[in-house]
């Protein structure tokens, strides 16, 4: 019997397309969503290999190179492809005592890919000192350093800090969304599957949570976290705080799906065959809208990232020595100093790019996941 169906399947191979293939075919037509997916993937790749992508040690401070402007990387030396940066010479204005840097192009620091730099342990295991880009091997001994995006007040390389911040900020998005997914899907599923009193109860709680002004509550919850907690504890506490109020949208989506699926024949069939409700929910109903769930999840990540960034920016989220985009943006709180050191605003760019990309990707996924969507 089983062999029979398999043969049957193989003979019709050409006409068969799995749900996944169909979704992919629809998704591929959204050029913007496709490009966004590539961008998101690149960002997560950077987050994964932060140590390798970083140019300098993100926590090594040096007052001598405080607030150095970005060094542009020249790709050609004359006609020869020999990338280099000009050395930055610090000068102090005799009157205002303000320190300023000037590029001195008579001294050139060669730059190469896969250069040796600070030592790190990749994923806490592999010891290495190779980096994506860095000072050429010939100059390594002379303490020359490259800062593609300049340095912050304490002389730490902004580029490397953004790269490390990418890891924190993006992972908070993922961890937070996982939590949100857990809460949202279980409450939504229970609400939509059982209906009745439980449904009413959960729906009212959704409405109440939605009516609560979330940001003040986040601020308060983050504000009362003990000051002596370590980076990791704060990290998870912040993630939980953010997820606590973010599950309502997912719960609504899931409930709506369950309400309509409950009337389907295959669910009735499963019920009549005596399947337990857990089996019906997780084995039969949930898989039938995985793609929707993925889309809704993708669309939930940006708000997580924004929340973390905002909290840290205000000084209530992650704090130094933790590095996240929000922590980096704290430096821009004083607009007068930013006017003189505009490169400190650069961390805002990855925030906006990632959020845009995730939004486009989620929109594309949502359209692709809906088989009844118009094809126009």
């Amino acid at each position: 019997m089983t062999v029979d169906t398999q043969e049957n399947n193989e003979s019709r191979d050409v006409t068969l397309a799995s749900e996944r293939q169909l979704v992919w075919a629809r998704f591929r037509r959204h050029k913007l969503a496709l490009i966004s997916t590539v961008i998101v993937a690149l960002f997560y790749l950077v987050a994964f290999g932060a140590e390798f992508v970083a140019v300098n040690d993100p926590v090594e401070t040096d007052a001598k190179r405080s607030l150095m402007p970005p060094q542009s990387i020249h790709l050609f030396d004359g006609w020869k492809p020999a990338p280099y940066v000009c050395e930055m010479v610090g000068k102090r204005d005799p009157v205002s005592l303000r320190k300023s840097f000037e590029a001195d192009c008579t001294k050139r620091i060669p730059v190469q890919i896969f250069a040796r730099g600070f030592e790190y342990k990749f994923l806490g295991l592999l010891r290495s000192d190779r980096h994506l880009i860095g000072v050429g091997d010939s100059e390594r001994s002379q303490e020359s350093l490259v800062f593609p995006l300049g340095t912050d007040v304490q002389g730490r390389g902004l580029f490397s800090r953004i790269v490390y911040g990418t890891r924190t900020s993006l992972s908070i998005g993922l961890v937070g969304v996982t939590l949100t997914l857990l809460i949202g899907v279980s409450l939504g599923a229970v609400s939509g599957y059982f209906g009745g009193f439980i449904d009413t109860l959960i729906q009212r709680s959704v409405e109440i949570v939605r009516a609560i002004p979330t940001i003040p509550i986040w601020l308060v919850l983050a504000g009362i976290l003990p000051r002596d907690w370590g980076v990791l504890q704060i990290y998870f506490a912040i993630t939980i705080i953010i997820s606590l109020f973010a599950w309502t949208d997912l719960a609504r989506v899931v409930r709506g799906r369950f309400l309509s699926l409950r009337e389907e024949d295959f669910v009735t069939a499963a019920m009549l065959s005596g399947a337990r409700w857990q089996r019906i929910v997780f084995r039969h109903m949930l898989p039938s809208f995985y793609s929707h769930l993925i889309a809704a999840t993708t669309l939930a990540i940006p708000s997580m990232i924004i929340s973390e960034t905002a909290l840290s920016f205000l000084g209530l989220g992650l704090r130094s020595p933790a590095i996240s985009w929000g922590v980096l943006l704290q430096a821009t709180q004083n607009v007068h100093s930013v006017a003189l050191t505009p490169w400190l605003m650069i961390p805002a760019i990855p925030v906006i790019v990632v959020i845009l990309a995730l939004n486009f990707m989620g929109d594309g996924l949502r359209d692709a996941a809906d088989p009844y969507a118009s094809t126009s």
Binding site: P213, I215, L219, V220, L314, V335, H336, M345, I352, N359
Partner: protein, 327 residues
Amino acid sequence: MWVFLAKRIGIGLITIWALSLFSFILIQLPKGDYVTSEMIALQMEGENVTDEELENLRIYFGLDKPVHMQYLSWIGNMMRGNLGYSYAQRTPVNDILGQRLLLTVLYAAATVVFIWVVAIPIGILSAVKQYSFADYSFTTLGFIGVAVPDFLLALLFLWLGFVFFGVSMGGLFSPEFVDAPWNLARIWDLTKHLFIPIIVLGTSGTASLIRIVRANLLDELHKPYVVAARARGLREWRLILKYPVRLALNPAVSLTAYIFPFLISGSVIVSVVLSLPTIGPTLLQSLLEQDLQLAGAIIFLAGVMTVVGTLISDILLGLLDPRIRQA
């Protein structure tokens, strides 16, 4: 309508109750109570306080009663407009918040008006002239508007204003009007200063409202009744504004109810960045100073404001859409 309203008010009341509980727990969090801090203050001044006096003080302030009684008296005070006492600033909360509350409500309400005034015409234009240059540019702008977080937008405005015009855009009043009594000149000054904060806070709401109005209107525009009206020679703009637009606006109103909590809560962050004299900066400061009395009062008030705002837009929606009144 009455059933609908009763349901809405019920949910609003439960929300306020949940928030009051949360605020009360928050206030109870710090070790010690008002009397302890008062004692420390007196000892710093070199006065000796006996235990008996302390106990009398506790009884006077009702701190000897069980927690649930304290909660009841606290919420009673809140209802009567007595918001408590900030131990850190040694001032009644009423004096600290006073005008800030008014400005917060004003700010959020003005932003709602801004969102409507900007988004509805643009949404209609985008739908009627679908795929035109204007449609594309507004759609793109809308996407960016949704994606850029409020506080980054605020930061950007501040920075641009400072670099290109040499002005600090923070605050809601010019220096000469900060403590002035309310008069026409002061209101005009406030209006000028509110402009940038409203744009900052309203952008994402405007963007989503444009998308909603556009999508709804596109659904309506191709229905037979529109074709019929056109066939009878009704002038195009009159036709569009009189029939499909009215139908497309309902979701816009219900979005307002949904958006109001976001505006109150978003205004907190925007106000901090732009240093507006609303409850936002006070909340942040109270948290950084661990002044939880003040923070609790602010949370509670923000909740009340949100619930009332949402209720008002719900009533508007009920007046506009008979189907909701029936439900």
